[in-house]
Symmetry: C2
Subunit: 398 residues, 2 copies
Amino acid sequence: MIEFQEALAFVLGNSNEYGEVSIPLHKANGRVLAENVFADRDFPPFNRATKDGIALNYHGISKGISKFKIQAIAPAGTPQLTLNDNTSCIEVMTGAVLPKNSDTVVMYEHITIQDGFAALTKPIIKGQNIHSKGTDEQEGALILKKGLRIAAAEIGILASVGKSTILVKKNPKVCLVSTGNELVNVDETPKPHQIRKSNSYTLEAGLLDKGISPDTIHIADDKIDTMNALTTIMSENDVVLLSGGVSKGKYDYLPEVFLELGITKIFHKVKQRPGKPFWFGKHQATQTTIFGFPGNPGSTFANFYVYFLPWLNKSLGLQNHEINVILEEEFENTTDLTRFIRAKAILKSSKIVANLIHSNGSGDLTSLTKSNGFIKLAPNRAYKIGQEVVFIPTKRIV
Amino acid sequence: MIEFQEALAFVLGNSNEYGEVSIPLHKANGRVLAENVFADRDFPPFNRATKDGIALNYHGISKGISKFKIQAIAPAGTPQLTLNDNTSCIEVMTGAVLPKNSDTVVMYEHITIQDGFAALTKPIIKGQNIHSKGTDEQEGALILKKGLRIAAAEIGILASVGKSTILVKKNPKVCLVSTGNELVNVDETPKPHQIRKSNSYTLEAGLLDKGISPDTIHIADDKIDTMNALTTIMSENDVVLLSGGVSKGKYDYLPEVFLELGITKIFHKVKQRPGKPFWFGKHQATQTTIFGFPGNPGSTFANFYVYFLPWLNKSLGLQNHEINVILEEEFENTTDLTRFIRAKAILKSSKIVANLIHSNGSGDLTSLTKSNGFIKLAPNRAYKIGQEVVFIPTKRIV
């Protein structure tokens, strides 16, 4: 049995790279960029009118002209026009290319138009209402750095520079394995001694949040079946997340099966609650990482957020940031275990504060819905109101 | 031109309900629950062993017995056994039904087994290591309330109570419309006066984050084409999000087309930057809500988060919470417009602080990737370091 910090270090130390894959732009949201992206042209690519109005040459104004002959109209999306002289103007629309020989745009609100002439009604500043070529980014500039997580804003940038396909980090292929003869399917009516599967559904939802669509399989509590099933699963997956079968029970074959299959045990059991019987290892032959979570819904749920997501982030090259919140309730951890207490964190003014959700042990799934994360409390330590503690979110807080 | 608060109130005042739909459990993550969910049995459904070990009757211990004959083994998932007498015990596995006549479970770590007898090695508390029937939830109890957003924890609960299909709020059907003759497709090489489409991609990603998969269409700057296309789109969609075509330009047909199509204008133009030319209305005949966003990428992006997402939340029955953060930089809003300034918010200790991202006007998309939201600043007001301001996140902060 090892300490939690040691266990987490082992898990993070066993992160892996899963390579890169080219995907279409519309599927890139949420993925991790695996290439540097450069501006393929200046942004904006031309001197661009930022208002609807007229374009003129300021020389005319400085020579006292206040009424300009309208020479033409330049809509957005048409090639650049040329202004004839300093006594003329060209009507320009937002997004249009600024006409050659013009240097200033006056919006419609600041002119009056009559008989083909535009008269100025407000003072003008030379160069106004122009978004100059290359002022956002110059051609060749690095605009998106490899390693960031792509969200809506980045999707827009990728579109702007013509990246219809993008290189992103490959996600690991994950298989969820539930074990336990007491489990029946969701659409079945359990006998009095049975319960329905829930862990695979919970974990699947957690993985879908990260853009990973796992396979799901149930294995009965039978040693030979388990060995055969795991052999196939490991040959086809990068990660196996199991729930159940890792405690001290007579039918908890998994630790034994893992060793017989040649999976290296990195650790088994952690001084933590919930989630103590966690078994973690790696199958060297297939390079498959094995997360053997305990079967209690609360334990599996906690371990997924406490271990698996940080491992996934690290494997994708993303940073894990520790989140601190203010405790609004005192709590004494009288055990020698690291505790993960269900909590509800909320933003109060600009501070994140958390209250504990009092639950009924690790089998109590319903209290999970009242919480949005876990507070991590060190062994044998008393915590006071107002103290900062580490928070592991299971839902988005802000 | 109206004030921002007025515009937001109009938008929220025009939210709509889109009914309910029954979907399979594995698709329910992120959706809003539209039915109350009750426990279909007690949770746990039986007195459940929470440790691997032996079950016995405490009467035996209180009469001085410390060695119990092992009568049988009760794995999880098998029907309830019956303990013969107070001198016997039954081996029980975690998750097993507590045998009849037994009331206490002793874990393997606290016994030694020899010759078919289990001898106690630690003091025992009556009733220990049992998760009693119905202590989490009693049959018929309301366990998930209509109106909450379903996440991983709720998926597990829904599975536990056998909800293989679930009633959720229907999302509105959304069509994204881009306008502007200067726009070409992402996979095309733009001519010098052209730029690539990006708004539809950005908005699509923002909608996918909310589980909405929109249709996307581009309409050329032609009045008749626009009228025909919009007529079809409105007959097939609950919401139309347009970008471009709502300013004062000669080819900004949209406001005119909207009125000719019988769309009620709720407002046009808001005293805000970016996003001022926003046109908002409703087509009474088809009950389609029209968000006419300006074409500048920064304007459309801001308006999506400032108006559309709160509108969507309200339409789905979710609450909108104002988020406050601490400003780490002073800023004076010298305009009479509500400003939405790109900002980067981070959690510093337990406080959310924000720094401004200095950008180059509303056409500057690349600065959006450096920010994770907008700070809202009131007209004609100076803000100091350390002051609380409203923050509109465009990415998850915590």
